[in-house]
Subunit: 309 residues, 2 copies
């Protein structure tokens, strides 16, 4: 039997998605369950097993040759375990071993969700054709992944490229991670909203106080809303410039809900990048929005499995 | 003829050194000239040619199979050119082509000096046996290089790992590079000395106001001198933690004159690293002093040529 399909899993704090993905990146069979994030380890694994059960019941299952998992982090690819911040029941949970068993012994590749998104954008998205890329997810948190020398580089732990928790402000505000001045603490959606509220911005009649609502106000010219996005852009630019300086990058691709703000984010980001990415070898660095959308996690889990096979 | 030797060149702002290096890292023939750094392009190249002339005159020259260059940066490995900040006569100077010709057509590998030092420490020094390493040179400037997945990763430009010009203080002091709050602007030797002087530290009767003299004062308990090293250590820790977070590192190796301060630097550096390198996958990160000494540039140029062959 020709085993040309990947059994892909995308494990998040709100949903667990699965698919059989072909070698062109098409999702042939899909399944999804809500993540029982407040329940115990076996309840969460039960949801994974249900998703996998739908996939194994498909007549296409026989073509699945290996499995790929992109999971909310941190993950430990070397140990095959995951400890998603938003799924307290899973701490050092042996997900690789469990999926290996449930799938009847398929080889399993595990990476963090930022690395999976990066694999998707490099395979079929905005980073396609670039040999040295950072892809970011800017959302409730800030994650990322790296393509170096044309290849996905998850690092031994599967977490490389985790730009959200590098400090760009060494004396800055404490971060829940224990460090200070992390990119995520300045540039995540909740922090964009918090800063706008602290500056005096108020939500409209619908009460929407999200970063997306701040973006609407910024587009209408609200100076406090604009300033909050500019500060987020500045932190992202400092982090992207640091990564590009260290890793000698061609492109940074930015996805996630906050990237949906469009020019409200990207215009100041491109300006700030000129301030921080100053060395001659960074002249070629470009910035682009992600294009893979909500399926990036599944396509990326498959892409990572293919890349690491 | 067995071509087991590398013709290695170490190009700096004060000296140009060359050697024939064997496959165990021994320097069999050496040559050196002062860098005529204030003269024109051809005068500097003349010094390189004199160094190479001594090597080609050696009876061992016939065993030289390729050439490796580590140069003060920035370099452009893709173009084969160098533009050392401290050698104004060389801007986009086609060093690879010129060395290729002078050596009678040897293949030539070019990397930045921080990358060369990294290759040396990974081959024979403190990073030996580590698959994921950052090596730093903390001196008049701050440079570095990366080992990822067991392999030297100079990046397409040959400058990857250049940690001195990542911003760890996005609102910080302007850096000559055009950015703000760069690691080099806080942690280099001249900045350690400047900060001590600004804080009221005064040199002894010999008038030595170098970072090394500040280290002597710190060892004797001078609080201003200690504080200046602690601030340098904090900036290095933030930069190393950022690099480790992004690249999923096992070890950071620190060399250069400032590392000669020993515990005055390393004790606060290890403390600060615990503050900034907080993610679970960084628990394995260790810090060690470099061991390759003044020959690291030549050994590293050879090691880079071997790694990139």
């Amino acid at each position: 039997m020709h085993t040309d399909l990947v059994a892909a899993l995308d494990i998040g704090g709100t949903k667990i998605a699965g698919a059989l993905v072909d070698d062109g990146g098409s999702l042939l069979v899909r399944a999804q369950r809500p993540t029982p994030a407040r329940e115990g380890a076996e309840a969460v694994m039960g949801a994974v097993d249900e998703v996998l059960g739908e996939l194994t019941a498909s007549p296409l299952w026989g073509r699945a040759g290996f499995a790929g998992i992109g999971s909310a982090g941190p993950v430990d690819a070397a140990a095959g375990t995951v400890s998603p911040v938003n799924v307290p029941g899973w701490r050092d949970f042996p997900l690789v071993e469990r999926v290996h068993k449930t799938t009847g012994g398929l080889p399993v590749a595990l990476v963090g969700d930022g690395v999976a998104m990066t694999a998707a954008e490099h395979w079929l998205g905005a980073a396609r054709g670039y040999d040295n890329a950072l892809c970011l997810v800017v959302s409730t948190g800030v994650g990322g992944g790296l393509i170096l020398g044309g290849t996905l580089r998850p690092g031994p732990s599967g977490n490389a490229g985790h730009i959200g928790h590098i400090s760009v402000d060494l004396d800055g505000e404490p971060c829940p991670c224990g460090s200070r001045g992390c990119v995520e603490g300045i540039a995540s959606g909740p922090n964009i909203a918090r800063r706008a509220l602290e500056g005096g911005w108020r939500p409209g009649p619908d009460g929407d106080a999200s970063a997306a609502a701040v973006a609407v106000a910024a587009r209408a010219g609200d100076p406090v809303a604009l300033a909050s996005y500019e500060r987020a852009a500045q932190a992202l630019a400092a982090g992207i410039a640091a990564t590009a300086t260290l890793a000698d990058l061609d492109i940074a691709v930015i996805g996630g809900g906050v990237a949906g703000a469009g020019d409200v984010l990207f215009a100041p980001l491109r300006r700030s990048l000129r301030d921080y990415a100053t060395l001659s070898y960074l002249r070629r660095l470009t910035v682009a929005p992600a294009v893979m959308g909500t399926d990036a996690g599944l396509v990326g889990a498959a892409a990572a499995a293919i890349a690491l096979r």
